[in-house]
Subunit: 367 residues, 2 copies
């Protein structure tokens, strides 16, 4: 995948830097872990410090000191999570800030403008994120609105590329814009959404509205059916997913790009992803365990620290515990995706996939 | 200074790793910052995870994955801070844990045993830490008790060196033990304490009971008078001090070793030490300031990040803010002490001291 701030090898995993920083690790850690692209959240940056301030700093890359690619979401997902504090109509999403209760309106055009000011390398269109479960009728209505919003977002980006619009400062003229396929768990709607979104001519496409509570087999099925309708020469991004197993299974179904808070958030809660399954470092049985979190892992945490020490840091609330756990989990995710790339390039992906799945399913994980 | 885990160039500054980790940074960060020795707190490690567990792991170095020198305090200072939850008598200090209220007794012998199990390279004797202000009579009584306790602590260490004592596991046979000079702000008491403590024959000596609220000139005066009575061929350690200016002024008075939580604690509160004075990153005036925290600093934070970004991280409560601030402050302290060493080795310490003081006093610092 080519961006205005360099190339990204796919399939790729994007660590989540919600407010312009990945919780628990520094940019230098991310460089060393081999992260090639970050995700940042438009909702949070819009509220604090504001896209205007970031544009005056020269854009998000310069503001946060990260020169490699950045993808920003549209802000929609966070707003749809503000239950009771938002209303949606054809114009856009009206919401109250979780910080100070102030009223805001996010339209497809405004989400495009904000991301133009942030200057991410990839901007996402504003989509409607439907809760699971939903009826097919609800999903159809919502999918259709997402499609109309996508057209408005695309029109605005093309206008911004053509010349000044309403004082919006375009800090990254090479910014790409991805459309988003919706349609719930209904194959017919997904097909219609994929075909119609592709017809709008985005630089690439994402699958949204999954990992929201549906059974895992349903998610895999929807992913497998949807990727068929997306252009084969453009990256396909599965938003907000998932476990290490989800990465492998989704690549098998044609996905190129992932983001997920699991490795970072779970690290802060003491859960480590390992080659032998998940490990909850707070469990008493690790109190005197001198082995590294994952004996097969080569990350800086596993090379130097024991489960006993990491448990001590967790129990005593030392922030270093969160950092060392995050370094390990991000290494595990980025190493998994690197091994997937290698397996693909050597034509051995299917055997890699089988071995990966068998290994994890044969091991009991901590609850 | 030579220890069982390698040499330390003096004067040296010890970052504080209260519970076996320096808050906000990893051991690797400390390696890169050039930290040669850490301080860890016996009180905290005794309560969690316990010196017994650490001894079963092979000692503190192996438990925390740090192979360079470690100094442990005696636990006394923390216990004396437990107002209302501790009583002192000739035997030792009785206290209730701040964690679960359980009752404990720390005697000079027990403090020695615990540190022998931790296996630090330098153990400190249990001393009585008197509050400021105190009368000369109070200070005399307390100093005399500290002296008796020092004798008991030394006897216990010599017994541990000679052979097994009560099942104590000595995890670092090369452990040194430092005596502590007390005596409040009274020169006569300080002289008596220094002479008598030195007579007990410790590997080296510390000055305790300062930086507890006395005027800065009084502290410098006591330091200057006390170092005269301490052996010239042994390191002199000023406990719990201080500001960058304190480091320079205390080296001028014969101090070789420092520890202080200021660089790490203040970093977490948003205060940065710079060549131009202190800077409070939360101030609104830094919101759009693209310059690095300290334009003359070469640390990883100043090379990559702006005041505007660090303020954003602080305001949004991102833990990375604490980390980046801590990296800067520790660099500033360790760089200051390195420059002091260089100035001494080139015979230019007095001119360095003058320039350092004039520079800081000429600059207004943030409140």
């Amino acid at each position: 995948m080519t961006t205005a701030h360099g190339d990204v090898e796919t399939p790729a995993f994007m660590p989540v830097g919600t407010q312009g920083a990945v919780k628990g690790v520094t940019h230098r850690d991310l460089d060393e872990l081999g992260a090639e692209i970050l995700l940042s959240n438009t909702y949070h940056l819009y509220l604090r410090p504001g896209d205007g301030l970031i544009a005056r700093r020269g854009g998000l890359h310069r503001f946060i000191g990260w020169n490699k690619p950045i993808l920003t979401d549209s802000g929609g997902f966070q707003i749809f999570s503000l239950a009771g504090r938002r209303t949606i109509d054809e114009e856009g999403a009206r919401f109250r800030s979780h910080l100070d209760g102030s009223a805001h309106l996010l339209t497809p055009e405004r989400a495009t403008d904000i991301q133009a000011q942030l200057g991410s390398d990839v901007a996402m269109v504003l989509d409607e994120c439907l809760a699971h479960p939903s009826t097919e009728d609800e999903a159809r209505v919502s999918m259709a609105r997402t499609l109309r919003w996508a057209g408005r977002a695309r029109d605005r980006l093309l206008a911004l590329r053509a010349g000044p619009v309403n004082g919006v400062v375009v800090t990254n003229p090479g910014q790409a814009q991805f459309g988003i396929v919706q349609g719930g768990v209904f194959p017919g709607l997904r097909e219609e959404s994929a075909r119609s979104t592709a017809a709008l001519g985005f630089e690439a496409y994402a699958i949204g509205g999954l990992s929201v509570g549906e059974p895992i087999d349903v998610m895999y099925d929807v992913v497998g059916r949807t990727t068929r309708w997306l252009p084969g020469d453009r990256p396909r991004y599965l938003m907000g997913t998932g476990t290490p197993e989800d990465l492998v299974e989704s690549v098998a179904r044609g996905i190129d790009l992932f983001d997920c808070v699991l490795p970072t958030r779970n690290a802060r809660n003491g859960q480590l992803f390992t080659s032998q399954g998940r490990l909850n470092i707070k469990n008493a049985r690790y109190a005197e365990d001198d082995s590294p979190p994952d004996p097969e892992c080569g990350c800086s945490t596993c090379r130097r620290f024991s489960r006993a020490y990491l448990r001590h840091l967790f129990v005593t609330g030392e922030m270093n515990g969160a950092t060392l756990n995050t370094l390990h989990n991000l290494h595990f995710y980025l190493d998994t995706i690197r091994r997937i790339r290698e397996a693909i390039s050597f034509g051995r992906f299917e055997s890699f996939r089988r071995a990966f799945t068998e290994r994890l399913s044969g091991q009991p994980s901590d609850s």
